[in-house]
């Protein structure tokens, strides 16, 4: 009986000690983790709004640029980021988060549109579980740059805002290159990005225009 009791007490004390150590490490690093996430988000928003930021900008400098040029608001409970020109008053675009299912897991990204919501200013994907070297290539510049200047319109019937076609075969302005070898991811991206853009134009743009 004594042995049993000792075992239980031992486990209990051991658990207490180790969970305390782990909790301490967590609390110690929490701030840094939160900062990392915030900085990452700010960097992405600035990028899609086409506000130039040098690669080596420190986190503080980035924070200052962000504070000057972007204002985060809420439209119908959804976040919206308004980008301003250097003068701080002229609106240069609107950025909003998008998300959907990729081939392997959820993909999260950010899209920016021009002040009239007539074209796309930029797009970026910042979280995904796609295969490195294949589906993961949606984060690469060559892929995201295709979206710049893409004309927007609410989806009527079969006419999507853009199509992802096999690399090099796209002819019309709305036919972009998919990622070769990543059919699943490309199809998924085509589906959810079209859906999110359409949703923005139909449901949110009205409220945004009103201010």
């Amino acid at each position: 009986m004594k042995k049993r009791l000792f075992s239980v007490v031992y486990m209990f004390v051991l658990t207490l000690v180790f969970t305390s150590i782990v909790s301490a490490v967590k609390v110690f690093n929490e701030e840094k983790i939160r900062t990392n996430q915030r900085v990452k988000l700010e960097r992405i928003i600035l990028k899609v709004l086409d506000i130039p930021v040098k690669e080596k900008t420190s986190d503080e400098a980035l924070g200052r640029i962000y504070a000057r040029r972007v204002k985060g608001v809420e439209v119908r409970d959804k976040p919206l980021y308004v980008g301003y020109a250097e003068d701080g008053r002229t609106i240069v675009g609107y950025a909003f988060p998008i998300g959907g299912s990729g081939f392997w897991g959820p993909i999260y990204g950010m899209v920016a549109v021009d002040p009239e919501a007539a074209t796309i200013l930029g797009i970026a994907f910042y979280r995904h579980s796609e295969t490195p070297g294949l589906g993961a290539r949606i984060t690469e510049d060559w892929f995201t740059r295709q979206f710049q200047g893409l004309p927007l319109h609410p989806i009527e019937g079969d006419k999507k805002i853009f199509y992802l076609k096999p690399e090099g075969t796209g002819k019309a302005r709305d036919e972009l290159d998919a990622v070769t070898g990543a059919t699943g991811t490309s199809r998924a991206v085509e589906a959810f990005v079209n859906r999110e853009l359409d949703h923005f134009l139909r449901d949110l743009w009205g409220s945004v225009k009103k201010g």
Partner: protein
């Protein structure tokens, strides 16, 4: 968030996103056991059962206990403890009520606890933000996928080692790995069949 239907997810977990052939999980017992098809089958069934149940249990614990209490960073400890406890429970139940089954499966059960695939499935379903039904489908599918992979490779290995004259050094793990690689390539072909979206 994910709009895949559970049925498609189930089949994808077996074929296109096979937890062993695409995510590399569950290799250790695989290399040791896959010598005989019969033992592979026994181990496989046990894994399917444990994986499905722990996927569901860990889902519930994560979303209804850990997250609300802001303890999600403890999930590694909690998940593995739940898995270990569940396997222990299964072992005791099987030993008491199905002693014949216990003789066949007995030694495998402790092995299951350290099977990376079981913990892996639980971790993946959190990252991919699956719902409860999707987690169930994913857990079951992954388990079956693992079983299919281990039996297939085991069967090939049995045949090859019996009939072929192997170059020096190839026997054993090296051969298993190469066969697994070919099997992984073969399973990649399934991605044309299943579409997730």
């Amino acid at each position: 968030m994910i709009k895949i239907d559970a049925g498609t997810l189930f089949f994808a977990a077996i074929f296109t996103n096979n937890i062993l052939l695409t995510n590399f999980l569950g290799l250790c017992p695989f290399l040791a056991i896959s010598r005989e098809v019969r033992s592979s089958l026994g181990l496989g069934v046990a894994v399917v059962f444990v994986m499905t149940c722990t996927a569901v249990i860990n889902y519930l614990v994560y979303y209804y206990l850990l997250l609300p209490l802001n303890l999600e960073h403890f999930r590694y400890i909690v998940f593995i403890v739940i898995i270990a406890a569940f396997v222990q429970l299964v072992e005791m139940t099987v030993e008491r009520f199905f002693p014949a089954l216990y003789y066949i499966l007995g030694i495998f059960l402790p092995l299951i606890t350290v099977n990376c695939a079981i913990l892996g499935a639980s971790l993946f379903l959190i990252i991919r933000e699956y719902t409860l039904i999707q987690s169930l489908a994913y857990g079951a599918g992954s388990g079956i996928g693992w079983m299919v992979a281990i039996i297939a490779v085991g069967a090939i290995r049995e045949k090859v080692q019996k009939s072929a004259k192997l170059p020096r050094g190839l026997e054993g793990p090296a051969l298993t790995l190469i066969i697994t690689g070919i099997m992984a390539l073969a399973f990649m072909a399934f991605s044309g069949m299943i579409q997730i979206q």
